[in-house]
Every structure is written in C-alpha cells, then in structure tokens.
Symmetry: C2
C-alpha cells in the first residue's frame, strides 16, 4: 500500500488505542509528510479536531503555495468541515481510504476542481465498521447526526 | 445592536489586543451563548482556529439536537472551512457582521438551507479593513491566498 495511506492508517490506529474514533490523516508536500493527525473528539473533548483538521493543525501555519502543491490523505471520506478546509487552502488532491462507512463532500470537492481518489481499503473499512457498530452514539455525534 | 453580534465583536477586539486577526464569533442556543471564540492564527500558530471554529471548539462537545437549534454569529462572512463546520453540525442560521472585506461561502450555505443574514455593520467593516491594509500577508495566509 501507498506509504502515505499507511501513515494515515497508523494515525487512526493510534487514535483507537487512545480510546478515540479511528480516523487518521496526513498532509504530504512533495513526498514529505508535513503534518500527521487523528480524530480527537474523545481525547480532547474536541468538536473540530477531525483527523484531517488535526493533520492540518499539526502541520502548522503554511504559505498558500505549499498547500497548493500538497496531497491530503485520509482514512475516511471527508465531512463538510474537512472538505471546506481543503477548499479554503486550495489543496488540489485528496486520497481517501474508504467512503462506504461515511460519504462526505466528495462531489463538492470534485465540482471545485479537487482531484479525489478513493482506494476502498479493507483495513480502513474494518476499523470504522467495528467502531461504529460498538459506538453508534459517539459516531453520530462526530458527524452531527441526531441519535 | 443585537447583543450577540456585540459579543462577537468583543471577541474580535480581544483578538486584536492579543495581536491577532480581528474576527470573532459566538454560538447561541435559545438565547444563551454556549461558546465564544476568535481567530487564533497568530496567537496559537493555528491553521484551523478561525473565529467560528474557535467558538465551536470552546462550546465543547454538543449533541446534534443543540446545534440544530443554534445560531452562529460571526463578524465576517464565513470561509469554506467554517461554512463546512456549519453544514456538518446542521446549524440552521448564521448572522454575519459584514461580507465586504471577504465574501465566504454564503451561497453554498443558502443552497443547503441555512438562513444567512448579513448586517453590514460598520464596526466589523472598519476592524477588518484596517487590519487587512496593515497586514496583507497575514490576511492572505488566513484565507489561503497566495501573496
């Protein structure tokens, strides 16, 4: 598997070990990982630290020119918030582990010119499906759905 | 002026005093402020703490049912990231201080059924226009624009 998707999966697994929601992400610029992140809703009581947001935050402040040459890898299809962050910063390409557990704003991203690639990785799918089956209320909270 | 927009402006002014970008926001549920926030790019080296995101984060983890009865007040038209957060959580109404300095994703919000109200407040406008004129590079960084 692609080493960057592997790094995103490692982040998701780190989140799971912490008792969190297993979604991970990395921001990659010219073959170098600038930021790694995972969902921290449970660990930090956070409403905004989805995996992708955490990777962007951990990458720190970057000039627009860097985002515009970067690729965001994420284990799960990005929600409206994370997709909005991708659009804000003009990240041109997103590689998604799977979109069977949750389908985010892939159509919006594509309509705005972002290259979206879904790999449908079985490890990503198994992590999410096991988590959602065991913790439906946490999962609904994370995606803003009513219980 | 509306007390909640006043509270959002007070947050923007607090950010300015800290040396930050003067954009503030409050999340209001049934007439009670649940979270106050302001842009913390400079103060915390943050790529994701726009005013609206900071208000959502400071409000903490909330059930979907609370967001769906809430109003988000923000001194400036919300960018793609903040608009995406509004969509993720199903916040039904957004009150915007002004959209002359920056026009965010108001059309997308409206297309998804969010009630968007722009008050074109002169205090909000003056804060942003003074800041942008003095700090164009910081402002470009905050909205993902090339210098």
């Amino acid at each position: 598997m692609d080493e960057f998707m592997q790094a995103a999966i490692a982040e998701a697994q780190a989140g799971l070990i912490e008792g969190g929601i297993p979604i991970g992400s990395v921001l990659v610029h010219r073959g170098v990982i600038l930021g790694r992140g995972h969902n921290r809703r449970i660990q930090q009581g956070s409403a905004i630290r989805h995996g992708e947001m955490d990777a962007l935050e951990n990458a720190g402040r970057l000039p627009a020119s860097v985002y515009r040459e970067s690729v965001l890898y994420t284990t799960l299809s990005p929600c409206a918030m994370c997709s909005g962050a991708i659009l804000l910063y003009g990240i041109p390409r997103v590689v998604i582990g799977e979109n069977q557990s949750f389908l985010g704003e892939e159509d919006l991203l594509r309509a705005r010119g972002v290259q979206v690639e879904v790999v449908q990785d079985s490890t990503c799918m198994a992590m999410m499906q096991t988590f959602i089956a065991s913790n439906p209320e946490l999962w609904n909270e994370d995606i803003g759905e009513s219980d």
